[in-house]
């Protein structure tokens, strides 16, 4: 895969978290694929790098699970684009995943903090 313009502060998305980030992005309404990618990048202040190519398998997977649904529409600059939106099951899944994520980061933080203090 390509490693594009990856500065020291840029990082690839953690494996397994892309689904959660997509669901989170869709929480405020329908967004198309490109919009999801740029939204994740912008919201993370360009720290997170979305591999645009890997976005589409993830979107198909989420559709298969019934968490999101898709509909063709027109983009801001009048271009045909496919818009994704959360389903009820998707909203439930998002809350499951974000609470799991919180538990995970807290646990990670508890482990990493002492080490930081000692240096």
């Amino acid at each position: 895969m390509t490693r594009r313009q990856s500065g020291p502060n840029r990082t690839d998305i953690l494996q397994g978290t892309l689904d959660m980030l997509i669901l989170r992005t869709l929480l405020f309404g329908p967004v198309h694929g490109h919009g999801i990618a740029t939204s994740i990048e912008k919201t993370s202040d360009d720290v997170l790098q979305v591999d645009h190519g890997s976005l589409y398998p993830a979107l198909q997977r989420l559709q298969a699970m019934g968490w999101i649904k898709a509909k063709w529409g027109l983009s801001e600059n009048n271009r045909k684009a496919k818009y994704y939106s959360l389903t009820a099951a998707g909203k439930k899944q998002l809350s499951v995943e974000s609470s799991r994520w919180e538990r995970l980061t807290e646990a990670m933080a508890r482990i990493m903090r002492p080490a930081k203090d000692e240096t």
Binding site: G53, Y56, A81
Partner: protein, 302 residues
């Protein structure tokens, strides 16, 4: 996880594989288009903008392949590969392949054959009225060394007087006799017809009912000089008369004792009729002159 929804999603993609593929390609094109426009807005030349957008997207092939995986067709493709591989290995070793195929074929064939016999004999009830009250009686002659087994094998049973005795004994509700009654049809061309000769009351006792026409009447108990009547089986009706419903009342010309005689068809039996002897074509009243020589001999001996 809702497996039903997953199945439905995959099925809809599978049924519209082409459309789903095209849809995805269209979506990716639109993605790159939007990225290109944004790059132009950032001040790139159109060519540069498109190139950068393509690079940023990464491999189109990978994106599409991995998306297809989400549709769950991997197993189908792998099944195809597996079959092709199996076929190639079979071709490479025809000896062991044919041994395996033969083993399977024989095993399946024997299994099926045994089952159909067991099914007919043990599981399916006889297709007669009150099958549990239907018995078959042989007479034996121990002086001559004729036991039931031999009597069965010879197809020999009893004489008319003997049968009359059974009838009058009151042991059985009704008593009927039957025997093989093959005869020859003369017209339009000579052919042998395998017949089952039955004594009066046969249809009433067994509950077998012609589906066309009627069964023998009591007064059709054959006597010399009376008109011959026949009930034919479904299979014979199909083969000889091409299922013509107007067959009732037609006459066959058969070889009688003194030459050709007419025999009128009065009924057609339902499909799959079978009684003791397999594949009989025609039912005749017993004590017909020509067909029932054995019966006659028995009668004379009695």
């Amino acid at each position: 996880m809702d497996w039903f929804r997953l199945l439905r999603f995959r099925l809809s993609r599978l049924l519209n594989l082409r459309a789903a593929d095209e849809d995805l390609a269209e979506e990716i094109r639109s993605h790159i288009e939007i990225e290109t426009q944004e790059n132009i807005a950032r001040g790139m030349s159109p060519e540069e903008a498109r190139r950068v957008a393509r690079i940023k997207f990464g491999s189109l092939v990978t994106a599409r392949e991995q998306s297809r995986e989400a549709w769950g067709f991997r197993w189908l493709e792998e099944l195809g590969q597996g079959l092709r591989f199996a076929f190639r290995s079979f071709r490479r070793s025809p000896g062991s392949t044919s041994a395996a195929v033969l083993t399977l074929a024989l095993g399946l064939g024997v299994g099926t054959a045994v089952f159909s016999v067991v099914n007919a004999l043990l599981f399916k009830p006889l297709q007669y009225k009150d099958p549990d009250r239907l018995v078959m009686v042989w007479s034996v002659n121990h002086q001559e060394g004729v036991d039931v087994e031999l009597a069965r094998r010879l197809g020999r049973s009893m004489s008319t007087p003997e049968m009359e005795d059974w009838k009058e004994s009151g042991i059985f509700e009704s008593t009927v006799a039957f025997g093989a009654g093959n005869f020859t049809e003369i017209h339009p061309e000579p052919q042998s017809i395998s017949g089952l000769g039955v004594s009066p009351g046969f249809f009433e006792t067994t509950g077998i009912q012609p589906f066309l026409g009627r069964r023998f009447l009591p007064e059709e108990e054959p006597r010399r000089g009376r008109k011959n009547v026949l009930v034919i089986t479904y299979e014979y009706w199909k083969r000889r008369f091409r299922e013509d419903p107007g067959v009732i009342g037609r006459e066959l010309v058969v070889q009688g004792r003194k030459g050709p005689e007419p025999a009128e068809i009065i009924g057609v039996l339902p499909r799959g009729f079978s009684f003791y002897y397999r594949s009989k074509e025609v039912i005749t009243p017993l004590t017909w002159e020509a067909p029932n020589r054995r019966w006659k001999v028995a009668q004379n001996a009695g």
